[in-house]
Structure formats: C-alpha cells, structure tokens
C-alpha cells in the first residue's frame, strides 16, 4: 500500500504544480481588451537614460516617440506636421524660422509649455545631445528670439533641412532634472514605470492637445531571447511584436494578422576602400555584377524587401532613384572581365565581418558567399558580436568588407549622405571622391529645395557609378498584431506610434 501511496502523492504534487500556474488565456480575446491596454514585445531593454537628448539606441527612440515631441513631428507619410507649435513660417532668405506656440499644451507633469521652455530645450539639446549631426546643425543658430506666444530661430546660413532637425529637438520642461529616470514630455503617452530587463510601461496622456490615444496603457515586455519572444507572441501573451523575420511569420499559428512594411535603412556590403583590391573601382563593380540581389531576396526573405542601388531608401521619395537599383544587372561574364582588367583574372579572396546578432545580415552574407563563388571570388564570413563590430569595424575600420544597414538618424537626406564625404568621422569605408564631395557640398550650401534635391540625386548617382558599396536592399519589416487590434501604421522611420492603435471589439 505504502508504495502506491508514495507514487500517488508524487503525482498529486506534480498535478498541483501544473494547476497552480493556470492563467487566463482565451483563444480570440486578449487580456488587454478588458482594460483597454496592450502588451508589446520588444527584443531589447531601453537605454539607461530616458533623457531625449541622451538616447542612443534605435529601440529606445522607437518607444520614446510616444512620449516626446518637437515643435513639429513626423507623420506616417514622412511630412513634418505641427506639434507643440501650431504654425510656422520661414523667411524668404531661409534664415529665420518662426514658430507660433500652440496654446494650452501642457507637459506630463501638469506645467504649461511656455516659449521659455522651448528655448531651454533648444539650448540644452545643443549642448548635451549625443547626436553629433544635431549638435552641428544647432551650432549654426545665430540667435533665439522669444515672445509670449512665439519662438524664432535665426540661422547664420540657410539650411533647407533645418526643419528635420527642429523635429529632433524634443520639447522638455525648463529646470526639470529627472529626465534620466522619469521623462516628462508633451506626447500622447506618459511614462509610468520601468523595470530592468522586465518591462516599460506608458499610459495615455489625457491632457493631450491633439487626437488622444485610444489605448489607456501600453506595457512593453522585454524578451531578449528571440525564441522566447516568438513563443510569447504565438501563445497570445503579447498583442503586438514588430521586426519579425519571414520564417517567424510563417510559423505563427495563432491567427494574428501580419502587416508588411520596410525597415527604412540601406543594407549593403560595405567595402573598405583603403584595402586592396577594393581601392579599384573595377573590382567593386565586378562585385556588383556578381551579386544577384533579386535571387538573394528570394532566398533570404521570400522575395520581400526592396532593392535600393544607392545610399537612399524608398521612403525618401524625393531623393530615391529607382533606376539605380538596376544599374548592375546580374552578369557573371562581365564581372569576370572586370576582374581580369583589374589584374585578378583568377579572382581573389577576402573576409566579410558580419554582426552575428542581426539574422538578416547573416543570411544575406551566406547567400553572398555562394553568389561570389561563380565569379571566382572566395569570400569568407567572420561572425563578430555587436560590441566588437562597433569598436573594430565601425570605429576602428579594421575590416575588408562588412554587411550592415544604415538609416538616417536625423530624418533627412544628409543623414544618409554626410558620412561618405572625404574625411567624415563616420566614413567607415574611407570613401573619397572629389566629385561626390563637390556635389554634397553644393547641396548643403544651397537654400533652394529643388536645387538641393538635384544635388543629392547627383550624389546618389555618383555612389552608384563608383560602386562605392555593393548596395542590396531596404529590409522588409513584419509586424504581427492581435486580430482585434487595429490601427497599426508604418512610419518612414524607426518608430511605433501607439496612439493610433485601438481594440475593435
């Protein structure tokens, strides 16, 4: 009897444990529908500092977009719309930007937004921002002029891109010093709490001046392990997850809707021009001919993604030139011929350093190696972790070739193109082309928007002709949402706008 009893007790204990963790899961309803909240899964914790001028990670900006606003802010079509300002005008010489402050805008701490706060924000941003391009743009400010309802910026020289920098200056309350840990802005959501490696919670700002958010609360759950994130999504614990891979969307079995957008970046094989044989334009062109971008997209992402052809992605409709994507059609014979002309009739070998934490880059590199073999080029993949990539490849420029994606941190074309100017601190490929430098400088110097666009397009054409890099694609971005969660919109920049989401009951 006793042994049966022991067995029975053991089983009972197991059963008890299993029942103890029973949660409330329904197939087609989410726990969040009841209290009008959602849980969003994110793959990395936010930066330690939530101060808008000190944020560095794209994942942090993506979340804080809901909390901070500038005088103007980007909309889903990439236009700048009024936010803390209700109207603005630019003087005919392009030197004076005048913003009318919207009346009745309050900070999350209840204080009214005044012109003094705006000036404080610009001055603090100019002196403390970690974004070098923003600091540089603001250094061209000659003076700020403040009245009770108006804020003017006088520039030393015209800058047609200036509004995109204004957009990046989050308006914060004057003399508030806890932005690091308790951020206060004017956006449609307020910061509520955060817990290291666990969650980040924002709640609706009921005093918002514009269209108020539908959801009352958004909890970001941090799951750094990719499998854990996917499992949580597939089980229905999460209502929304962005940046999924094609394989993950295929494995999703819980009936969630999948929307497709783009990552808004330029993925390319970036070549170090200071290293032989990549100093020879013919070798770079040969690589471009040897790579079949369409086949690569089919193999790595089921044909999703957009070929780019130069350092600009399609969301920048004004500058993007579709024809450049076909500048180098797949042509092995031509690649071999170019290599022979350059003195490498039997091909050559090189190492491509790939950041191991970005699966799309790893996948593309794998396909690349196979494609280059056909042209007699022997490429070897060396996986490096992200910290190593940053210090060795990006900062140290100690590489032959690497694969990564660049986006525009300042929401304008110069954010994409400034880095390829000779001697630029971020010019990690050591690119140097006098024609490019001249075109880029001309673009920066002009106050005329149409003319500037022409110059930027010229820059892009030069990068293509010169085969500065082997340009691949703007990566596809998949977002999975609960079938009853509606309103998700893709932006032409790396943000998730939570104010548009609502439960369709």
């Amino acid at each position: 009897m006793k042994k049966h009893l022991a067995f029975f007790l053991a089983m009972l204990m197991l059963l008890g444990l299993l029942c103890g963790c029973k949660g409330a899961t329904g197939k087609n309803t989410s726990a969040g529908m009841k209290d009008n909240s959602i849980t969003v899964g994110i793959a990395q914790d936010l930066d330690n500092s939530l101060d808008p001028y000190k944020m560095t990670a794209a994942g942090t900006r993506e979340v804080m977009f809901n909390i901070f606003e500038g005088l103007v802010k980007p909309d889903k079509d990439g236009n700048f719309v009024c936010a803390v300002a209700s109207d603005y005008s630019v003087s005919s010489d392009g030197l004076v930007y005048t913003f009318i402050l919207r009346s009745g805008v309050v900070f999350h701490n209840g204080a009214k937004v005044t012109a003094e706060d705006v000036m404080y924000s610009f001055k603090t941003c100019a002196s403390t921002s970690v974004t070098a391009a923003l600091v540089e743009a603001l250094s061209a400010v000659d003076a700020y002029e403040v009245t009770a309802t108006q804020f003017s910026i006088v520039l030393k020289e015209p800058n047609p891109d200036f509004l995109s920098y204004v957009c990046n200056v989050s308006i914060v309350p004057k003399d508030y010093h806890d932005q690091d840990t308790a951020p206060v802005g004017t956006g449609p959501f307020k910061f509520q709490s955060r817990r290291v490696l666990d969650n980040f919670v924002i709640v609706r700002n009921d005093d918002y001046y514009g269209q108020k958010a539908h959801l009352s609360k958004v909890t970001y759950r941090i799951l750094e392990d990719n499998t854990a994130l996917f499992t949580a999504l597939n089980s229905g614990s999460l209502d929304l997850v962005a940046h999924l891979t094609i394989d993950q969307t295929k494995n999703l079995t819980n009936g969630y809707r999948v929307a497709e957008g783009t990552m808004n970046l330029v993925q390319a094989i970036y070549l170090n021009h200071d290293v032989k044989p990549f100093d020879d334009v013919r070798v770079r062109q040969a690589l471009c001919y040897a790579v079949d971008v369409d086949a690569m997209l089919k193999l790595t992402s089921g044909g999703h993604g957009t070929a780019v052809g130069s350092s600009m992605y399609p969301a920048f409709g004004k500058y993007f030139d579709e024809s450049l994507a076909n500048a180098y059609p797949h042509d092995i014979a031509k690649a071999k011929q170019l290599l022979a002309e350059a003195g490498y009739p039997n091909g050559f070998s090189f190492t491509i350093k790939v950041p191991s934490n970005y699966q799309p880059h790893v996948d593309c590199a794998t396909v690349l190696v196979e494609q280059l073999k056909a042209a007699g080029i022997d490429a070897k993949i060396q996986l490096v972790d992200w910290s190593t990539w940053l210090s060795d490849v990006y900062k140290g420029r100690n590489f032959e070739a690497t694969i990564t994606g660049f986006d525009s941190s300042t929401l304008n074309a110069s954010g994409m193109l400034a880095r390829w100017e000779t001697g630029n601190g971020k010019n990690m490929i050591n690119y140097s082309n006098a024609d490019y430098d001249a075109a880029y400088r001309a673009a920066r110097a002009t106050a005329d928007d149409a003319q500037q666009t022409q110059y930027y397009k010229q820059c892009l054409a030069i990068l293509s002709q010169d085969a500065a890099n082997v340009y691949l694609q703007d990566l596809v971005d998949f977002v999975a949402t609960h079938p009853k969660l509606k309103g998700y919109e893709f932006y032409p920049l790396y943000v998730m706008d939570m104010s548009l989401l609502y439960w369709d009951k």
């Binding site: 042994k3 103890g20 970690v130 974004t131 759950r221 949580a232 089980s235």
Partner: protein, 313 residues
C-alpha cells in the same frame, strides 16, 4: 578546525583565480563599453572623456587591484550602460535567480525521493524495466530543451500558462511564484530523473548486501528492513548528490532565465558580456563561483555527518 581553515583558504584562492580570469578575459575580447553608452554618433572627445572617467586607459593590473579593493569593501562599482550601482542591479536579479533555484531544488527533492524509493523497491520486472527506460529518456533531455517542450505543450497547446508573462515579486508574491513554476520544472525534471536513478541503484545495491540477507534470515520483513536500515545507507550518496545539485541548479538557471525572459542574474550576465560591463560580469562570476564552492563545502560536511566512516582531514 584545521579542515575548515583549509577549505576556507581554498575558497578564497578559487575566487581570486576566477575573478582574475574573468577580468583578463575582458582584456582579450575586443569591444568597449563607451560605444554602447554614447552610441555611434558620439564625438571622439566625448568617447575619450568617458574612457577617462571609467579608468579604461589605465594599466590592467592597476584596475584589477582597484576593483578587488573596492569589491572587498562591498563596493561593486557601477553598471555604466544602466547607470546603476551593480549591487542594486544584482539585488533584484539575485532574488529571482535564488527563488528559481530554491523552487527547482524543492521540486527535485519532493518528487525524486518518493519516486526513487518506489523504483528501488519495485519487485515487478516489467515495472522496473519501464521505470528505467522512462528515467533514462527524461534524464537525457537538457533543461533548455525541456523548457521549450514545456512551453509548447502547456503554454501553447493547453494554454495552462502564458509564456513570456512575468510578475515581479514586488507586485505579487503568488504571481511571482506562479511565473517560476514552469522554469523550475524545466530545471527540476531532468535532475529528478538523475536523482531517481541514483537512489534507485543505491537501494538495489544495499538490498544485495549481507546484512540485509542476515536480517531477512532472522525473520524481518522486507519493507521493515528497507525503511529501517537500507534507506539510511542508500541516502548517503543521494543527499550528497542533491547538495551538489543545488550548485548546478543555480548556474543552470542562467540559460532557463533567458528562455522564459526572467530578469535574473543570468540575463544580467549575458547583457553585461555583450555590453562589455566588466564590473557587472565580475560581480556575478564571483557570486556564482562562491555559491558553487560554498555549496560543495556544505555537501562535504553533510556527507561526513551522514556517514561517520568518512573523515576529511
């Protein structure tokens, strides 16, 4: 007393070696914490100023001994990318990891011992065979795979719990414990199988011994012998094994935390390594090493208490 002093000296030496190795490893691997803190857009002056502030430009050994001095006085330093004292960061993480360890250990002990006795005393050939097969199979499943399996079966197919949900102990203790059950089972189940196998074979071995035969011939029944004599002897190795398990469970929980998204020291360790936060990694490595050494030491003492024949001198 002499034994204790010797053990203590060994403990200190182990920790010194471990911490020095971890420190040196950080000198060998490329990468530097400033890029994570300041981002890729930062100016060179800002990077240099931060390197100066963090003391990264100084000699390796100077830095090691400064760290050691601070560590011994209880100052674990700062986690730069989180701008938090390491001790505060670890405090929260350790609660999670320790709770997970304790729960896994309790489940292991409470399930394995009855099952082991049952397996050891079974007389039916069929039952015994089945027991051995199942035991061997479960034992070969690594905890991280067990975690995936449990999540899939109980989380997705049966919907008994919500994968990826976590309730902090600060919000609700029962909710916190509920979140730890699946992770704890993932660690405990393979370990239960190991313990059962050990206890089962120990009991079988003891049952073959002369004293059992003698007791039987004197008319004692099998069950009484099992309870009164065999179990006590068979338990010696099992208890020692369980004690050592306590150390392995804690180190093993690092992977399991990752699978279930629990904010324990395992996640902090991995994050620390990828962000090159050497102070955080140092502290965790030393704490884990200390736990392993101390638990092994306690296991020795326990073994000695249970089996008076054993004497460590």
């Amino acid at each position: 007393m002499k034994y204790l002093a010797k053990k203590l000296a060994a403990l200190v030496a182990t920790l010194l070696v471990v911490s020095l190795l971890a420190f040196l490893a950080f000198q060998v691997i490329p990468g530097d914490p400033t890029t994570k803190i300041l981002g890729t857009e930062a100016t060179d002056e800002a990077v240099e100023a931060l390197r100066q502030e963090l003391g990264l430009n100084e000699n390796v050994f100077v830095r090691y001994f400064r760290w050691l001095g601070n560590f011994l006085t209880g100052d674990f330093g700062m986690n730069y990318s989180r701008h938090m004292p390491v001790s505060q960061l670890l405090g929260d993480g350790l609660v999670v990891t320790f709770a997970l360890t304790v729960l896994s250990f309790l489940i292991t002990v409470l399930v394995a011992i009855p099952l082991g006795i049952l397996g050891g005393s079974a007389r039916s050939q069929l039952l015994d065979g089945a027991f051995a097969v199942v035991d061997q199979a479960v034992m070969s499943i690594p905890p991280f795979f067990m975690a995936t399996l449990l999540t899939w079966v109980f989380g997705i197919l049966l919907g008994l719990f919500q994968p990826g949900r976590y309730t902090s102990y600060a919000d609700s203790i029962p909710g916190f414990v509920a979140c730890l059950i699946m992770p704890a089972l993932s660690i405990a189940i393979p370990r239960i199988a190991m313990t059962v196998k050990m206890l089962r074979s120990a009991i079988r071995e003891e049952m073959e011994r002369d004293y059992v035969r003698t007791a039987r011939s004197r008319g004692n029944n099998r069950r009484a012998i099992l309870a009164r004599h065999v179990l006590k002897n068979a338990m010696v190795t099992t208890v020692t094994f369980l004690a050592v398990s306590a150390a392995e469970i804690m180190t093993g929980s690092i992977i399991i935390e990752q699978v279930f998204g629990l904010p324990g020291v395992g996640q902090l360790l991995l994050e620390g390594i990828s962000n090159r936060e050497f102070l955080t990694v140092q502290a965790i490595v030393v704490i884990l090493a200390a736990w392993v050494v101390v638990v092994n030491f306690l296991a020795d003492i326990l073994h000695q208490l249970l089996d008076p024949r054993v004497r460590y001198e």
